[in-house]
Subunit: 455 residues, 2 copies
Amino acid sequence: MEKTKKFLLPENQLPTHWYNIQAEMPNKPLPMLHPGTKQALKAEDLYPLFAEELANQEMNQTDIWIEIPEEVREKYKIYRPTPLVRAYSLEKALDTPAHIYFKNESVSPVGSHKLNSALAQAYYCKKQGVTNITTETGAGQWGTALAFAAKIFGLELAVYMVKISYEQKPYRRSLMQTWGAQVIPSPSMSTKAGRKVITENPTYQGSLGTAISEAIELAMSTPNCKYTLGSVLSHVSLHQTVIGIEAEKQMEMAGEYPDVVIGCFGGGSNFSGISFPFMRHNINEGKKTRFVSAEPSSCPKLTRGVFQYDFGDEAGYTPLIPMYTLGHNFAPAHIHAGGLRYHGAGTIVSQLMKDGMMEAVDIEQLDSFKAGVLFAQTEGIVPAPESAHAIAAAINEAMKAKEEGVSKTILFNLSGHGLVDMAAYDQYFAGDLINYSLTDKDIADNISKISQLAH
Amino acid sequence: MEKTKKFLLPENQLPTHWYNIQAEMPNKPLPMLHPGTKQALKAEDLYPLFAEELANQEMNQTDIWIEIPEEVREKYKIYRPTPLVRAYSLEKALDTPAHIYFKNESVSPVGSHKLNSALAQAYYCKKQGVTNITTETGAGQWGTALAFAAKIFGLELAVYMVKISYEQKPYRRSLMQTWGAQVIPSPSMSTKAGRKVITENPTYQGSLGTAISEAIELAMSTPNCKYTLGSVLSHVSLHQTVIGIEAEKQMEMAGEYPDVVIGCFGGGSNFSGISFPFMRHNINEGKKTRFVSAEPSSCPKLTRGVFQYDFGDEAGYTPLIPMYTLGHNFAPAHIHAGGLRYHGAGTIVSQLMKDGMMEAVDIEQLDSFKAGVLFAQTEGIVPAPESAHAIAAAINEAMKAKEEGVSKTILFNLSGHGLVDMAAYDQYFAGDLINYSLTDKDIADNISKISQLAH
């Protein structure tokens, strides 16, 4: 019998609801705090910054399922449901008894999973009568997605793009411009936060933390404008659960259930998206699936950070967030997986990590590219440098299965392709990329700077 | 009721056979001729150049259906069947009564339809024990596809890439290198054909014709090496019919049948692929579907060329081919749709054109980009500059339907995405692109140079 490679869901099986894990977590995430009063924030406190429905979703700890608006589902159909793929050729190259599956979010027209939340956020902003939105972008995946979403819902968008990515990834910038967005390299002189950083360090190549500060500042000072974020926050993870809900049905089509689920980890949205719908069965039915986040060794907040309150941005404009963090002024090395260069993890994931419901591994830059090239040469898809971290972690799991002589079902999220990141692969082949190690002292020194914040 | 946007076929409906229109054409294509003896070529005459099964397919005028080898079908499953998509948002933006569908070949991991033939050619070469293959590439789509195909079937590949594309599209080069191919800008000093061109015109930016000469020369002078071509030839069009065969089933799912089928036109492979399986019903059942090829105004072989015998390459290494041509030494303008910069059309398409079974339109460069941007902003996918010609032609058809107040079902082939062509879009937005006009005299002068060849 012929083997099935891709498991496809028809459009009429597109999920109708997102899964809100907050409603089912044994320990709820701690509340975000007002930095001055130290009081727990309510949804209303976020209304100045976010569309109201998004703020409500952020704080929703009661509704297990939240309906996906019809207008968003219509737009999801541009690329969803995405395929679940059995990586037969990769398995063969590794000579592993493990079965490796990946959810292929790279088929989105913007090339990554980010569109899942961009469409939702643009929709809710539009519905509320907002005309302008701002955001930041690291590698450019989120900015690209939001640019398309803003265009089809008729919103003006300004994107602060981390300077190093702005320079390394000109095609991402072009894509955003093709969809009509304004793109500003960050740090910029257009905001107080940006000017401060440039003044203190004129050659600073930018970070997500700084870009977030700039985008928030612009949103707060522009009429009828809201800020949007592509990761970290709970409502973003919520929207991404469409990935895992589809994958669950597709694994059923494949007649398997994952022993381990893997996602690369920046702020947590794609990891959450693939994991939470499966984690639900760990919580409710005692399943024993492992959930492994793969972060870069150069930005190891889950493997080497601390769990405490910290700001989400460089300038301290955000509420205090209970998170695993390296400190909000952590300046990560200039690795090519720009989307993973963020100092903290979202509140849900941080709580799950604290409660031992998930694991974290760190991946060196060179190992991620090695895994990416092997994947490209076997499965055909050149992965985004971010996604290559998940592939590297999946390969490690598959090799462990081989050593132990056990079969194992591995599912990872291919969050995006790397066709717009080929300059990074060029540098890898030229031998110009290196690993970045952090000493325990580097990490402790940076964390000590936030020790005065609430615990 | 919810509208279906994407029509998906499950893997088990992947076509089992390619459609060989040669066996059903009312007038068969004229034979290729040996340039010295002027004798009609037989399949065996092509064995030195091509894998035997490919040469046999090239000349096969009897078998209507040719079985797709199991190994090729297995690899097709990486991305096939591809979606058929209803372009609701584009229709709405045009306010047209026409129904517009596109076959989305951009979901292939290499970003275009070219993989359909690359996998077949690499497979047949491997099967015959060939170890090395050569080819040329214009925009880089074909070279990219063949690089992946060569890698998974274990062949060494050398690609001559048209110099202007080599410089304009560095990411394509990187992709080929990621899949292990050697890439040489053409004209190069590595072949006699290349050296001659460089000597006569040191600043020449290259053409497909020259790159073909170089790839053939390398193949002929390398042991156990075959040449492969990504378009023009009949066996390439044969492999591409997998597109139209799928589309036929998918249009049936949509409950419609196309009034007009459109493909952009370089050498003819993607146009043939989407068209021939539908043209079959014109031939056998008297259906009246129109077939429209969209070529660039700067390289108008079908709309302004002549039908006569000509060489397929610059140096005259190929047999004499009966084709619509602008002359084999035609030097096309440096438009960004590099895949459409070829002087001639394949023998099948040329005969169909001569017999009035298809039409051709030409599209100006700026109109193609305008159409491409509208498509990106409505349907989300940034099209390859080549594919944007098909979109422009589809838009023209849709606007005609609107003027005439009639409904019409339009199907076009989205042969590839433009994520690796963003530099071209940048130039378009910057106002740096222009249209290129050819005077009748330009064309007549060039054609006169081939008047001594067989008619």
